[in-house]
Protein backbone atom coordinates (compact mmCIF):
# COMPACT_ATOMS: atom_id res chain seq x y z
CA UNK A 1 0.00 0.00 0.00
CA UNK A 2 1.47 3.34 -1.01
CA UNK A 3 1.89 6.22 1.40
CA UNK A 4 -0.97 8.21 -0.12
CA UNK A 5 -3.36 5.29 0.19
CA UNK A 6 -2.34 4.83 3.77
CA UNK A 7 -2.91 8.52 4.45
CA UNK A 8 -6.32 8.39 2.82
CA UNK A 9 -7.35 5.35 4.80
CA UNK A 10 -6.18 7.02 7.99
CA UNK A 11 -8.23 10.08 7.03
CA UNK A 12 -11.33 7.98 6.66
CA UNK A 13 -10.68 6.27 9.96
CA UNK A 14 -10.05 9.46 11.85
CA UNK A 15 -12.58 11.52 9.92
CA UNK A 16 -10.21 14.46 9.75
CA UNK A 17 -8.28 15.95 6.90
CA UNK A 18 -4.63 14.99 6.98
CA UNK A 19 -1.94 16.92 5.22
CA UNK A 20 -4.37 19.40 3.70
CA UNK A 21 -2.71 21.08 0.70
CA UNK A 22 -2.94 24.82 0.26
CA UNK A 23 -2.45 26.85 -2.89
CA UNK A 24 0.21 29.06 -1.35
CA UNK A 25 3.38 27.01 -0.77
CA UNK A 26 4.67 29.48 1.83
CA UNK A 27 1.53 29.07 3.93
CA UNK A 28 2.35 25.39 4.23
CA UNK A 29 5.89 26.19 5.29
CA UNK A 30 4.58 28.43 8.02
CA UNK A 31 2.09 25.79 9.18
CA UNK A 32 4.88 23.25 9.39
CA UNK A 33 7.00 25.64 11.40
CA UNK A 34 4.12 26.34 13.78
CA UNK A 35 3.42 22.63 14.18
CA UNK A 36 7.07 22.02 14.92
CA UNK A 37 7.10 24.74 17.58
CA UNK A 38 3.90 23.36 19.07
CA UNK A 39 5.44 19.93 19.30
CA UNK A 40 8.62 21.24 20.92
CA UNK A 41 6.92 23.43 23.49
CA UNK A 42 4.21 21.70 25.46
CA UNK A 43 2.91 23.13 28.69
CA UNK A 44 1.13 20.51 30.69
CA UNK A 45 -1.53 21.34 33.17
CA UNK A 46 -0.54 20.49 36.69
CA UNK A 47 -3.81 18.74 37.43
CA UNK A 48 -3.67 15.15 38.38
CA UNK A 49 -6.26 12.55 39.24
CA UNK A 50 -5.73 9.23 40.91
CA UNK A 51 -2.51 7.45 41.71
CA UNK A 52 -0.60 7.82 38.41
CA UNK A 53 0.31 11.35 39.45
CA UNK A 54 3.11 9.90 41.53
CA UNK A 55 5.00 9.00 38.35
CA UNK A 56 5.11 12.59 37.13
CA UNK A 57 7.52 14.16 39.65
CA UNK A 58 10.32 11.73 38.67
CA UNK A 59 9.52 12.37 35.01
CA UNK A 60 9.87 16.12 35.57
CA UNK A 61 12.86 16.23 37.91
CA UNK A 62 16.50 15.32 37.57
CA UNK A 63 16.21 11.60 36.84
CA UNK A 64 14.23 11.85 33.59
CA UNK A 65 13.95 15.64 33.06
CA UNK A 66 11.03 16.38 30.74
CA UNK A 67 12.23 19.96 30.22
CA UNK A 68 14.83 18.77 27.71
CA UNK A 69 11.86 17.87 25.47
CA UNK A 70 10.30 21.28 26.04
CA UNK A 71 7.64 19.99 28.39
CA UNK A 72 7.04 21.99 31.52
CA UNK A 73 4.26 22.19 34.06
CA UNK A 74 1.86 25.14 34.04
CA UNK A 75 -0.69 25.82 36.69
CA UNK A 76 -3.77 27.23 35.00
CA UNK A 77 -5.82 25.78 32.13
CA UNK A 78 -5.46 29.05 30.24
CA UNK A 79 -1.72 28.58 29.83
CA UNK A 80 -1.67 24.84 29.27
CA UNK A 81 -1.64 22.70 26.13
CA UNK A 82 -1.78 19.18 27.53
CA UNK A 83 -4.22 17.81 30.06
CA UNK A 84 -2.85 14.72 31.75
CA UNK A 85 -5.43 12.45 33.30
CA UNK A 86 -3.33 10.32 35.59
CA UNK A 87 -5.47 7.58 36.94
CA UNK A 88 -9.05 6.71 37.75
CA UNK A 89 -11.63 9.41 37.16
CA UNK A 90 -14.42 9.53 39.69
CA UNK A 91 -17.65 11.09 38.51
CA UNK A 92 -17.07 14.08 40.75
CA UNK A 93 -13.59 14.56 39.31
CA UNK A 94 -14.86 14.21 35.77
CA UNK A 95 -16.94 17.37 36.17
CA UNK A 96 -13.80 19.29 37.07
CA UNK A 97 -11.88 17.70 34.23
CA UNK A 98 -14.49 18.78 31.70
CA UNK A 99 -14.60 22.32 33.13
CA UNK A 100 -10.81 22.47 32.92
CA UNK A 101 -10.64 20.99 29.45
CA UNK A 102 -13.15 23.45 28.06
CA UNK A 103 -11.22 26.41 29.47
CA UNK A 104 -7.97 25.41 27.81
CA UNK A 105 -7.00 27.21 24.64
CA UNK A 106 -6.99 25.25 21.38
CA UNK A 107 -5.05 23.39 20.14
CA UNK A 108 -5.23 21.24 23.27
CA UNK A 109 -4.34 17.62 23.86
CA UNK A 110 -5.50 15.04 26.35
CA UNK A 111 -3.37 12.16 27.54
CA UNK A 112 -4.90 9.31 29.49
CA UNK A 113 -2.33 7.68 31.76
CA UNK A 114 -2.95 4.36 33.57
CA UNK A 115 -5.33 1.53 32.74
CA UNK A 116 -8.17 3.18 34.64
CA UNK A 117 -8.57 5.83 31.96
CA UNK A 118 -8.59 3.18 29.23
CA UNK A 119 -11.26 0.86 30.58
CA UNK A 120 -11.77 1.51 34.26
CA UNK A 121 -8.95 -0.81 35.31
CA UNK A 122 -9.39 -2.18 38.80
CA UNK A 123 -12.31 0.19 39.35
CA UNK A 124 -14.37 -1.63 36.75
CA UNK A 125 -17.09 -2.51 39.25
CA UNK A 126 -17.11 0.83 40.98
CA UNK A 127 -20.37 2.77 40.87
CA UNK A 128 -18.62 6.12 41.22
CA UNK A 129 -15.97 5.87 38.49
CA UNK A 130 -16.22 7.06 34.91
CA UNK A 131 -14.64 4.09 33.19
CA UNK A 132 -13.79 4.98 29.61
CA UNK A 133 -12.35 8.46 29.40
CA UNK A 134 -12.75 8.87 25.66
CA UNK A 135 -16.52 8.72 26.01
CA UNK A 136 -16.43 12.10 27.69
CA UNK A 137 -13.41 13.80 26.14
CA UNK A 138 -11.42 13.17 22.96
CA UNK A 139 -8.14 11.55 24.01
CA UNK A 140 -4.97 11.92 21.93
CA UNK A 141 -2.72 9.34 23.52
CA UNK A 142 -3.33 6.57 26.02
CA UNK A 143 -0.48 5.28 28.13
CA UNK A 144 -1.50 1.97 29.58
CA UNK A 145 -0.03 0.43 32.71
CA UNK A 146 -0.74 0.32 36.40
CA UNK A 147 1.12 2.58 36.76
CA UNK A 148 3.27 3.30 33.69
CA UNK A 149 6.86 4.12 34.60
CA UNK A 150 8.28 7.58 33.81
CA UNK A 151 9.96 6.12 30.72
CA UNK A 152 6.56 5.06 29.42
CA UNK A 153 5.10 8.48 30.18
CA UNK A 154 7.89 10.17 28.27
CA UNK A 155 7.49 7.67 25.44
CA UNK A 156 3.79 8.56 25.22
CA UNK A 157 4.57 12.27 25.24
CA UNK A 158 7.08 11.76 22.45
CA UNK A 159 4.43 9.98 20.44
CA UNK A 160 2.17 12.98 20.94
CA UNK A 161 5.02 15.26 19.84
CA UNK A 162 5.37 13.25 16.66
CA UNK A 163 1.62 13.46 16.01
CA UNK A 164 1.62 17.22 16.53
CA UNK A 165 4.59 17.64 14.23
CA UNK A 166 2.85 15.99 11.28
CA UNK A 167 -0.44 17.70 12.09
CA UNK A 168 -2.28 14.56 13.14
CA UNK A 169 -3.10 15.47 16.72
CA UNK A 170 -6.46 17.00 15.92
CA UNK A 171 -8.61 15.42 18.57
CA UNK A 172 -9.50 18.83 20.01
CA UNK A 173 -11.44 19.42 16.80
CA UNK A 174 -13.36 16.22 17.39
CA UNK A 175 -14.81 17.68 20.58
CA UNK A 176 -16.40 20.48 18.59
CA UNK A 177 -17.35 18.28 15.68
CA UNK A 178 -19.01 15.59 17.79
CA UNK A 179 -20.14 17.70 20.73
CA UNK A 180 -23.55 16.04 20.83
CA UNK A 181 -22.00 12.62 21.47
CA UNK A 182 -19.72 13.83 24.27
CA UNK A 183 -22.46 15.94 25.85
CA UNK A 184 -24.85 12.98 25.73
CA UNK A 185 -22.40 10.82 27.65
CA UNK A 186 -21.79 13.61 30.13
CA UNK A 187 -25.52 14.08 30.66
CA UNK A 188 -25.89 10.38 31.34
CA UNK A 189 -23.67 10.80 34.39
CA UNK A 190 -24.51 14.28 35.58
CA UNK A 191 -28.17 14.57 34.63
CA UNK A 192 -30.00 16.58 32.05
CA UNK A 193 -29.35 19.93 33.69
CA UNK A 194 -25.56 19.63 33.26
CA UNK A 195 -23.97 22.76 31.83
CA UNK A 196 -20.53 24.35 31.82
CA UNK A 197 -19.59 28.03 31.73
CA UNK A 198 -17.95 27.63 28.33
CA UNK A 199 -20.19 27.97 25.28
CA UNK A 200 -18.86 25.11 23.16
CA UNK A 201 -21.35 25.55 20.33
CA UNK A 202 -20.45 29.21 19.85
CA UNK A 203 -16.78 28.27 19.92
CA UNK A 204 -17.35 25.54 17.32
CA UNK A 205 -19.07 28.13 15.16
CA UNK A 206 -16.09 30.47 15.64
CA UNK A 207 -13.61 27.83 14.46
CA UNK A 208 -15.96 26.75 11.67
CA UNK A 209 -16.02 23.23 13.07
CA UNK A 210 -19.78 22.75 13.16
CA UNK A 211 -20.84 19.46 11.60
CA UNK A 212 -24.12 17.62 11.65
CA UNK A 213 -22.80 15.79 14.73
CA UNK A 214 -22.28 18.98 16.71
CA UNK A 215 -25.94 19.66 17.36
CA UNK A 216 -28.47 17.00 18.23
CA UNK A 217 -30.90 15.79 20.85
CA UNK A 218 -28.50 16.33 23.75
CA UNK A 219 -27.56 19.87 22.81
CA UNK A 220 -31.31 20.52 22.52
CA UNK A 221 -31.64 19.31 26.11
CA UNK A 222 -28.76 21.60 27.08
CA UNK A 223 -30.48 24.59 25.52
CA UNK A 224 -33.69 23.71 27.34
CA UNK A 225 -32.01 23.66 30.75
CA UNK A 226 -29.34 26.30 30.19
CA UNK A 227 -29.26 29.10 32.73
CA UNK A 228 -27.58 32.32 31.69
CA UNK A 229 -24.29 32.75 33.52
CA UNK A 230 -24.19 35.51 36.07
CA UNK A 231 -21.25 37.02 37.85
CA UNK A 232 -20.80 35.65 41.35
CA UNK A 233 -21.70 37.95 44.15
CA UNK A 234 -18.57 39.12 45.93
CA UNK A 235 -18.87 38.56 49.63
CA UNK A 236 -17.10 36.83 52.44
CA UNK A 237 -18.93 33.80 53.67
CA UNK A 238 -19.22 32.56 57.21
CA UNK A 239 -17.59 35.58 58.80
CA UNK A 240 -19.52 37.06 61.61
CA UNK A 241 -18.57 40.37 63.03
CA UNK A 242 -16.65 39.95 66.23
CA UNK A 243 -18.20 41.37 69.32
CA UNK A 244 -16.06 44.05 70.93
CA UNK A 245 -14.65 42.87 74.21
Amino acid sequence: MSKDDLLQRKEQELQVELGRKRSNPLAHVFDDLVNFCRSRSMFMLHYCTGCGAIELPPAMTSRFDMERLGIQPMVTPRQADILLITGYVSIKTLKRIILTYEQMGSPKYVIGICSCTVNGGMYWQSYATAKVLRHYLPVDVYIAGCMPRPEAVIEGLQELMEDIKIGRANSWKKYFQNYDYYLGNQQQLFGEAWQTPTDIIAEARHYDLITDQTLGEYTALLEKHQQPLEALEMRLQGQKEKQPL
Binding site: R38, H46, T61, M74, V75, G105, Y207
Partner: protein
Amino acid sequence: MSVTHLIVELLLMPLVAFVVGLGMVLMMRRIAARLQRRVGPPFLQPVYDIMKLYSKQTQISHGLVHEIGIIMAVGGYIAAMTLLPVPGMSGLADKGGVVTLAYVLMIPSLGLALGVGQCANPNGSIGISRALTAMLAYDIPFILVIFGVAWVYGTTNLAEMVAIQQQGGPQGWGFMQMPLLALAGLLTLPAMMGKHPYEIYVAPAEIATGPMVEMSGKFMGGLFVMQCFQLYTVGVLYTTLFLGGGENWFTFLVKIFAVVAIPMSIAYVFPRYRTEDVLRLMWKWPVLIALVGLAVVMK
Protein backbone atom coordinates in the same frame (compact mmCIF):
# COMPACT_ATOMS: atom_id res chain seq x y z
CA MET B 1 23.30 62.24 13.68
CA SER B 2 20.98 62.03 10.71
CA VAL B 3 17.33 61.11 11.01
CA THR B 4 17.67 57.82 9.10
CA HIS B 5 20.58 56.82 11.30
CA LEU B 6 18.50 57.48 14.40
CA ILE B 7 15.52 55.55 13.04
CA VAL B 8 17.73 52.56 12.20
CA GLU B 9 19.15 52.65 15.73
CA LEU B 10 15.70 52.89 17.31
CA LEU B 11 14.59 49.84 15.35
CA LEU B 12 17.77 47.85 15.91
CA MET B 13 18.17 48.41 19.64
CA PRO B 14 14.94 46.66 20.75
CA LEU B 15 15.58 43.87 18.25
CA VAL B 16 19.09 43.23 19.54
CA ALA B 17 17.77 43.44 23.08
CA PHE B 18 15.14 40.82 22.28
CA VAL B 19 17.64 38.38 20.78
CA VAL B 20 20.11 38.81 23.63
CA GLY B 21 17.20 38.55 26.09
CA LEU B 22 16.21 35.20 24.57
CA GLY B 23 19.74 34.01 25.25
CA MET B 24 19.46 35.21 28.84
CA VAL B 25 16.18 33.35 29.36
CA LEU B 26 17.84 30.22 28.02
CA MET B 27 20.80 30.77 30.32
CA MET B 28 18.49 31.27 33.29
CA ARG B 29 16.64 28.03 32.61
CA ARG B 30 19.89 26.14 32.01
CA ILE B 31 21.37 27.44 35.27
CA ALA B 32 18.26 26.36 37.15
CA ALA B 33 18.43 22.97 35.46
CA ARG B 34 22.12 22.43 36.21
CA LEU B 35 21.64 23.40 39.84
CA GLN B 36 18.92 20.76 40.03
CA ARG B 37 21.17 18.25 38.18
CA ARG B 38 19.00 18.24 35.08
CA VAL B 39 19.93 18.65 31.43
CA GLY B 40 17.76 21.69 30.84
CA PRO B 41 15.90 22.90 27.77
CA PRO B 42 17.31 22.79 24.22
CA PHE B 43 19.00 25.81 22.67
CA LEU B 44 15.97 27.28 20.88
CA GLN B 45 13.44 26.55 23.63
CA PRO B 46 12.57 30.23 24.36
CA VAL B 47 11.84 30.73 20.65
CA TYR B 48 9.65 27.63 20.47
CA ASP B 49 7.71 28.77 23.52
CA ILE B 50 7.03 32.25 22.17
CA MET B 51 6.11 31.01 18.69
CA LYS B 52 3.81 28.39 20.11
CA LEU B 53 2.05 30.87 22.37
CA TYR B 54 1.49 33.33 19.53
CA SER B 55 0.16 30.56 17.29
CA LYS B 56 -2.48 29.30 19.71
CA GLN B 57 -5.88 29.27 18.01
CA THR B 58 -7.82 30.36 21.07
CA GLN B 59 -6.89 33.84 22.18
CA ILE B 60 -8.95 34.63 25.24
CA SER B 61 -9.19 38.36 25.75
CA HIS B 62 -10.87 39.80 28.80
CA GLY B 63 -11.46 43.21 27.27
CA LEU B 64 -9.73 46.24 25.86
CA VAL B 65 -7.75 47.15 28.99
CA HIS B 66 -6.41 43.59 29.18
CA GLU B 67 -4.94 44.00 25.70
CA ILE B 68 -3.68 47.54 26.33
CA GLY B 69 -2.07 46.37 29.56
CA ILE B 70 0.06 43.79 27.74
CA ILE B 71 0.96 46.34 25.07
CA MET B 72 2.05 48.73 27.83
CA ALA B 73 4.10 46.00 29.47
CA VAL B 74 6.00 45.13 26.29
CA GLY B 75 5.98 48.69 24.90
CA GLY B 76 7.36 50.16 28.12
CA TYR B 77 10.38 47.89 27.83
CA ILE B 78 10.79 48.62 24.11
CA ALA B 79 10.87 52.32 25.00
CA ALA B 80 13.41 51.62 27.73
CA MET B 81 15.61 49.77 25.23
CA THR B 82 16.14 52.95 23.21
CA LEU B 83 17.45 54.66 26.36
CA LEU B 84 20.13 52.05 27.10
CA PRO B 85 23.42 52.62 25.29
CA VAL B 86 25.07 49.60 23.68
CA PRO B 87 28.41 49.56 21.82
CA GLY B 88 28.06 51.53 18.61
CA MET B 89 24.49 52.61 19.26
CA SER B 90 23.28 55.16 21.77
CA GLY B 91 19.76 55.82 20.46
CA LEU B 92 18.04 58.26 22.78
CA ALA B 93 20.50 57.64 25.64
CA ASP B 94 22.03 61.10 25.11
CA LYS B 95 18.71 62.83 25.52
CA GLY B 96 16.96 60.60 28.02
CA GLY B 97 19.32 59.84 30.84
CA VAL B 98 18.96 57.61 33.81
CA VAL B 99 16.07 59.48 35.44
CA THR B 100 13.85 59.04 32.40
CA LEU B 101 14.84 55.41 32.33
CA ALA B 102 13.80 54.92 35.95
CA TYR B 103 10.38 56.35 35.08
CA VAL B 104 9.98 54.33 31.90
CA LEU B 105 10.87 51.12 33.75
CA MET B 106 7.78 51.54 35.92
CA ILE B 107 5.40 51.52 32.95
CA PRO B 108 5.50 47.72 32.41
CA SER B 109 4.49 46.95 35.99
CA LEU B 110 1.67 49.46 35.86
CA GLY B 111 0.53 48.16 32.48
CA LEU B 112 0.51 44.64 33.84
CA ALA B 113 -1.51 45.81 36.83
CA LEU B 114 -4.12 47.37 34.52
CA GLY B 115 -4.33 44.28 32.33
CA VAL B 116 -4.57 41.87 35.24
CA GLY B 117 -7.18 44.08 36.89
CA GLN B 118 -9.55 43.58 33.99
CA CYS B 119 -9.19 39.79 34.18
CA ALA B 120 -11.00 39.99 37.54
CA ASN B 121 -9.29 36.87 38.83
CA PRO B 122 -8.61 37.06 42.58
CA ASN B 123 -5.31 35.21 42.18
CA GLY B 124 -4.22 37.79 39.64
CA SER B 125 -5.15 40.67 41.92
CA ILE B 126 -3.20 39.17 44.81
CA GLY B 127 -0.25 38.58 42.50
CA ILE B 128 -0.19 42.08 41.08
CA SER B 129 -0.52 43.69 44.50
CA ARG B 130 2.50 41.67 45.56
CA ALA B 131 4.36 42.66 42.39
CA LEU B 132 3.71 46.35 42.99
CA THR B 133 4.78 46.02 46.63
CA ALA B 134 7.98 44.34 45.45
CA MET B 135 8.49 47.22 43.04
CA LEU B 136 8.17 49.62 45.96
CA ALA B 137 10.72 47.51 47.82
CA TYR B 138 13.45 47.49 45.17
CA ASP B 139 12.86 50.97 43.78
CA ILE B 140 14.12 52.72 46.95
CA PRO B 141 17.63 51.19 46.88
CA PHE B 142 17.61 51.45 43.08
CA ILE B 143 16.92 55.20 43.15
CA LEU B 144 19.52 55.69 45.90
CA VAL B 145 22.11 53.87 43.80
CA ILE B 146 21.24 55.89 40.70
CA PHE B 147 21.49 59.09 42.73
CA GLY B 148 24.92 58.18 44.04
CA VAL B 149 26.21 57.20 40.60
CA ALA B 150 24.91 60.38 39.02
CA TRP B 151 26.56 62.39 41.83
CA VAL B 152 29.94 60.75 41.27
CA TYR B 153 29.94 61.17 37.48
CA GLY B 154 28.31 64.59 37.63
CA THR B 155 25.80 63.61 34.95
CA THR B 156 22.61 61.60 34.48
CA ASN B 157 23.51 60.85 30.88
CA LEU B 158 24.18 57.12 30.48
CA ALA B 159 26.31 57.55 27.33
CA GLU B 160 28.53 60.07 29.12
CA MET B 161 28.85 57.77 32.15
CA VAL B 162 30.14 55.02 29.87
CA ALA B 163 32.61 57.41 28.24
CA ILE B 164 33.92 58.62 31.63
CA GLN B 165 34.42 55.05 32.88
CA GLN B 166 36.14 53.87 29.73
CA GLN B 167 38.68 56.71 29.87
CA GLY B 168 40.09 55.36 33.13
CA GLY B 169 40.24 51.69 32.06
CA PRO B 170 39.17 49.00 34.55
CA GLN B 171 40.46 51.24 37.39
CA GLY B 172 37.96 53.88 36.41
CA TRP B 173 34.93 51.57 36.45
CA GLY B 174 32.14 52.48 38.81
CA PHE B 175 32.70 49.19 40.61
CA MET B 176 36.14 50.35 41.75
CA GLN B 177 35.16 53.93 42.52
CA MET B 178 32.04 53.21 44.55
CA PRO B 179 32.12 49.57 45.69
CA LEU B 180 29.38 50.04 48.30
CA LEU B 181 26.90 51.41 45.78
CA ALA B 182 27.82 48.63 43.38
CA LEU B 183 27.19 46.06 46.11
CA ALA B 184 23.80 47.61 46.91
CA GLY B 185 22.97 47.50 43.22
CA LEU B 186 23.98 43.85 43.01
CA LEU B 187 21.70 43.00 45.94
CA THR B 188 18.81 44.81 44.26
CA LEU B 189 19.24 43.06 40.90
CA PRO B 190 17.45 39.75 41.60
CA ALA B 191 14.44 41.65 42.93
CA MET B 192 14.35 43.76 39.77
CA MET B 193 14.49 40.64 37.64
CA GLY B 194 11.57 39.22 39.59
CA LYS B 195 13.24 35.84 39.92
CA HIS B 196 14.11 33.56 42.79
CA PRO B 197 13.95 34.25 45.70
CA TYR B 198 11.85 37.36 45.05
CA GLU B 199 9.16 35.76 42.93
CA ILE B 200 6.46 35.50 45.57
CA TYR B 201 4.15 37.40 43.21
CA VAL B 202 4.29 34.47 40.79
CA ALA B 203 4.17 31.61 43.31
CA PRO B 204 2.71 28.91 41.02
CA ALA B 205 1.75 26.54 43.79
CA GLU B 206 -0.28 28.95 45.88
CA ILE B 207 -1.69 31.75 43.72
CA ALA B 208 -1.39 30.03 40.34
CA THR B 209 1.30 32.31 38.80
CA GLY B 210 -0.41 35.46 40.07
CA PRO B 211 -0.51 38.09 37.30
CA MET B 212 -0.25 35.42 34.60
CA VAL B 213 -3.21 33.42 35.83
CA GLU B 214 -5.66 34.46 33.10
CA MET B 215 -3.10 35.01 30.36
CA SER B 216 -3.24 32.65 27.43
CA GLY B 217 -1.91 32.52 23.91
CA LYS B 218 -0.53 35.80 22.66
CA PHE B 219 -0.96 37.53 26.02
CA MET B 220 1.26 34.96 27.67
CA GLY B 221 3.57 35.27 24.67
CA GLY B 222 3.74 39.01 25.30
CA LEU B 223 4.78 38.32 28.87
CA PHE B 224 7.46 35.88 27.68
CA VAL B 225 8.80 38.63 25.40
CA MET B 226 8.66 41.05 28.31
CA GLN B 227 10.75 38.67 30.40
CA CYS B 228 13.51 38.74 27.77
CA PHE B 229 13.58 42.54 27.88
CA GLN B 230 13.47 42.52 31.67
CA LEU B 231 16.60 40.41 32.03
CA TYR B 232 18.40 42.39 29.32
CA THR B 233 17.52 45.73 30.93
CA VAL B 234 18.83 44.69 34.31
CA GLY B 235 22.06 43.35 32.83
CA VAL B 236 22.76 46.38 30.65
CA LEU B 237 21.83 48.93 33.29
CA TYR B 238 24.19 47.43 35.85
CA THR B 239 26.96 47.10 33.27
CA THR B 240 26.50 50.73 32.23
CA LEU B 241 26.49 52.08 35.77
CA PHE B 242 29.29 50.02 37.31
CA LEU B 243 31.18 47.90 34.78
CA GLY B 244 32.21 50.53 32.27
CA GLY B 245 29.66 49.71 29.60
CA GLY B 246 30.91 47.85 26.58
CA GLU B 247 34.11 48.66 24.71
CA ASN B 248 32.96 46.31 21.98
CA TRP B 249 30.17 43.76 21.57
CA PHE B 250 32.24 40.87 22.86
CA THR B 251 33.15 42.37 26.24
CA PHE B 252 29.67 43.89 26.46
CA LEU B 253 27.93 40.52 26.06
CA VAL B 254 30.32 38.82 28.48
CA LYS B 255 29.62 41.52 31.08
CA ILE B 256 25.83 41.56 30.78
CA PHE B 257 25.53 37.76 30.80
CA ALA B 258 27.79 37.58 33.85
CA VAL B 259 25.73 40.25 35.62
CA VAL B 260 22.56 38.22 35.10
CA ALA B 261 24.20 34.86 35.80
CA ILE B 262 25.83 35.68 39.14
CA PRO B 263 22.73 36.62 41.18
CA MET B 264 20.78 33.87 39.45
CA SER B 265 23.13 31.04 40.36
CA ILE B 266 23.06 32.19 43.98
CA ALA B 267 19.34 32.88 44.04
CA TYR B 268 18.11 29.51 42.80
CA VAL B 269 19.47 27.94 45.95
CA PHE B 270 17.12 29.88 48.20
CA PRO B 271 13.39 29.46 48.75
CA ARG B 272 11.05 32.42 48.25
CA TYR B 273 10.76 35.31 50.63
CA ARG B 274 7.34 36.44 51.69
CA THR B 275 6.25 39.91 50.55
CA GLU B 276 6.85 41.56 53.91
CA ASP B 277 10.23 39.85 54.13
CA VAL B 278 11.14 41.16 50.67
CA LEU B 279 10.22 44.65 51.86
CA ARG B 280 12.13 44.28 55.11
CA LEU B 281 15.18 42.82 53.38
CA MET B 282 15.24 45.39 50.57
CA TRP B 283 14.70 48.36 52.82
CA LYS B 284 17.24 47.15 55.35
CA TRP B 285 20.42 45.88 53.68
CA PRO B 286 20.62 47.40 50.17
CA VAL B 287 19.27 50.73 51.46
CA LEU B 288 21.71 50.71 54.38
CA ILE B 289 24.66 49.86 52.16
CA ALA B 290 23.56 52.40 49.55
CA LEU B 291 23.23 55.14 52.19
CA VAL B 292 26.70 54.41 53.55
CA GLY B 293 27.96 54.35 49.98
CA LEU B 294 26.31 57.72 49.35
CA ALA B 295 27.93 59.17 52.46
CA VAL B 296 31.32 57.88 51.28
CA VAL B 297 31.05 59.32 47.78
CA MET B 298 29.54 62.64 48.92
CA LYS B 299 31.87 62.98 51.95
